[in-house]
């Protein structure tokens, strides 16, 4: 085993020496070439070529691939690692350079079929290169890489979505049956295990359900089989702790927490989103308007921040631009109202206007950007929660006040009720009541076949009366009470998120 046999590879005017053994080992192109029996396969003495001529590839791309081959294949931390680590600080131009170098590298590796290098790229997918790698994978027919990029983009959907280059890839469907990339990613986010998640300023101490080490967690997940709550391996970002009256909504399986007020100071406009796929909080663009005690509603892949304390304006957040824009405002500022999405429209019910009770049901059409008065009802409701299934809105809790001659009772503050409103037939149904519970200050979420309800505020002194964790089954119209309340705490929020399946994490 003396000196290795070297092959000269010529591209344009330059020659690159490579070990022939390594070349055959790593490159399917050269392995096939030397087996083909064609002109270039012959040794020089037998009339073969002095150099292996390549054409059409770029020199930097070829050099990277040949470096890889000369190094004998995959090395730790090779290639894309160092550049990607620069992270957010990468200048636009530098990123472009990286992108074009990446293209040249993938082309050379694809042409020469250096499978191990292409395989290595699967673990090199980053926010800075995922779109380019995805495109390259399509061009050069690399299904594994395409899959890896898709998986990455699903996990980091909103971060990818707001990149300007996404539009280049996000071409609309080419064939009738096709779905766009955006649609594919969006659908792929709705996979995993649906899990109830509770957020709040939980109190530690002996009354906590689990003996937590150190600070009590601010995020819990519910395990239905064992009926137990477990801490999520993450907490609220520090600037969200002790924020009250925020708006929350789930968009593309991100939990958004927007606005609110701090007990110590005033209203805020900041917006954060929790991504269960990465178990990370991201700060996104802040609203233009500071607001609290407003409603945040997700409709048609956008968020709408509706009203607030003495505020009638409405803002729309588009994750594609990571920006908030004002849209048509509410006719009046509203307090203690509620809103939800139903069949692509927003419905606002209840609460007070600056002068009177709000008896109107307002409907907002996002495509027309118009608020309309749908109808006026004769029951006044406030502080309720609203969720929807198909064309039915479920109104959970709140304080009912029937006007008109046949009033049932006066005010029913000490009762938890569930009513439904059909947006098509406009029919109200008084579904269920639970007299032992209060309908005020609760948080609820649609989850599986029911509405899971939890009281929002619990103080230690009255905790026994106000501990609520139950489920309204919308198909059987029945209550189901759970014993395990997550923890004592303030500012509770319950929501249903898809958490990654354990095998995938």
């Amino acid at each position: 085993m003396s000196a290795e046999e070297m092959v000269q590879i010529r591209l344009e005017d330059r020659c690159y020496p490579v070990s022939k053994r390594k070349l055959i080992e790593q490159s399917d192109y050269f392995r096939a070439l030397y087996r083909s029996g064609m002109r270039e396969a012959l040794s020089q003495e037998a009339g073969g070529p002095e150099v292996q001529q390549l054409r059409g590839l770029s020199a930097p791309g070829l050099r990277l691939v040949l470096d890889f081959i000369n190094a004998g294949g995959a090395r730790e931390g090779w290639l894309l690692g160092p550049r990607a680590e620069k992270g957010g600080g990468v200048e636009e131009e530098e990123e472009m350079d990286e992108v074009s170098l990446l293209a040249e590298l993938v082309e050379a590796a694809s042409f020469l079929q250096v499978t191990s290098l292409l395989q290595l790229l699967l673990s090199q997918v980053r926010l800075t290169n995922c779109l380019e790698l995805y495109r390259l994978a399509q061009v050069y027919g690399l299904p594994d890489l395409q899959e890896a990029c898709l998986r990455f983009m699903v996990v980091h959907f909103h971060e990818v979505l707001c990149k300007p280059q996404f539009h280049l890839l996000g071409a609309p469907p080419q064939a009738p049956g096709d779905v766009s990339l955006k649609q594919r990613l969006r659908e792929a986010r709705m996979t995993g295990t649906p899990v109830l998640v509770a957020l709040g300023d939980f109190l530690g101490g002996p009354l906590a359900p689990h003996p937590y080490q150190g600070e009590p967690p601010s995020m819990l997940r519910y395990e239905e089989m064992t009926e137990r709550w477990f801490p999520l391996a993450n907490n609220l970002p520090p600037d969200l702790v002790n924020v009250r009256g925020y708006g929350s909504a789930i968009l593309d399986n991100y939990l958004f927490i927007v606005g609110g007020y701090r007990i110590t100071s005033q209203e805020i406009s900041a917006a954060h989103s929790y991504n269960p796929s990465t178990n990370e909080w991201l700060q996104v663009a802040s609203m233009n308007q500071k607001r609290s005690n407003f409603k945040l509603v997700a409709v048609n892949s956008k968020l709408y921040a509706i009203g607030g304390q003495a505020v009638s304006n409405v803002e729309c957040y588009n994750p594609e631009q990571d920006a908030w824009n004002f849209v048509a405002p509410l006719p009046n500022p509203l307090a203690e109202f509620s809103a939800c999405e139903c069949k692509g429209k927003i419905y606002v019910i209840g609460g007070y206007t600056t002068r009177d009770r709000n008896m109107n049901i307002l409907q907002y059409c996002p495509s027309a950007d118009i608020w309309t008065l749908l109808e006026t009802c004769d029951v006044h409701i406030r502080k309720q929660q609203m969720v929807s299934v198909e064309e039915t809105i479920y109104i959970v809790g709140g304080c009912l006040h029937e006007l008109g001659p046949n009033r049932r009772s006066s005010q029913s503050e000490d009762m938890l009720t569930v009513q439904s409103y059909n947006t098509v037939t406009r029919q109200w149904l008084y579904l269920k009541e639970n007299t032992s519970k209060s309908g005020l200050n609760l948080t609820c979420a649609l989850h599986n076949d029911g509405i899971y309800i939890m009281s929002r505020d619990v103080t230690l002194s009255t905790s026994l009366e106000h501990r609520v964790f139950l489920k309204y089954n919308i198909f059987s119209d029945s209550w189901e009470a759970f014993r395990r309340f997550p923890a004592f705490g303030h500012n509770l929020l319950v929501s249903s998120l898809y958490l990654p399946n354990k095998a995938e994490t």
Binding site: D28, A32, R35, R39, G56, S58, E104, F111, A171
Partner: protein
Amino acid sequence: MEESMEEEEWGSYVAMMDDQNHNNWEAAVDGFRQPQPPPPPPSSIQAPAREPPGGQLLAVPAASVDRKGPKEGLSMGPPPPPEANGVIMMLKSCDTAAAVAKAAPAPTPSSTININTSTSKFLMNVITIEDYKSTYWPKLDGAIDQLLTQSPGDYIPISYEQIYSCVYKCVCQQHSEQMYSDLIKKITNHLERVSKELQASPPDLYIERFNIALGQYMGALQSIVPLFIYMNKFYIETKLNRDLKDDLIKLFTEHVAEKHIYSLMPLLLEAQSTPFQVTPSTMANIVKGLYTLRPEWVQMAPTLFSKFIPNILPPAVESELSEYAAEDQKLQRELIQNGFTRGDQSRKRAGDELAYNSSSACASSRGYR
């Protein structure tokens, strides 16, 4: 100097392939592409796209230059008439592409290639199906013809790099499906011709000719399959879940071997019983070849196949040891009767043995080879 001889020998075909820049003949095709489907109306997206790419990328033939002339003065004259290569998106740099995207996100290209932001020279020019048919496939067609008709071991004057590049470009430009079907059609036609020729051959040459056809085809596959590895990997394996080599071997089975097996097999059996009618190597090649093509054919002549392929017959059984011994003894008796001696049984030293037994050793070796 050898190069120039080749070029004479292989004529314009090789000359066309040997140009310094692949884009030469791509650009040249523009000349033949005058009748085109109506190009899309000029839009904002096409203005940057029409800028000719870097000088060395396109060695534009004269005819093409003339047509490109008015384009340089885009702002001076009236808008130039849409031209044939107007559809070619030559996005030179990412910046252009990004600018285009920001300016007009709505008009979206119909194929992924058009959003190409790279400077790839291979993908610079869109290969239309007409380009493929008029330029790329003929080039492959010619190379395949040569490979199919030459004898195994012959010098192959074709450049691997040239043909591979051609396949590579067609795959990257979404012509895999067409190319695969063309390749299968081409080889099917060839094999049908081979089969007809075999049918016409006289019985005494039949076995030898079948052997040649089989050998030639398998030899050709040694070169054809490597040329198409890019298509194999990125189309046949991933989209069709098959393998090119298997597919091409199957073609021989279907179009040649299956049609001839019933006339071939009796001849093989007959030849086997008549020493030296066909050389043992021919026999071995054919039997092994047939076994590769379709292992079930063993059933037609298990004894014949077992001579060349291990583990065809059931394994030896202890209870039949005496029968095996008897068989061997019978064989030895026959050998002696035919003039083969049993070899030396004495305990002479090696050197003596050589001198003593040389004649019979020669005889026996000749008998087996």
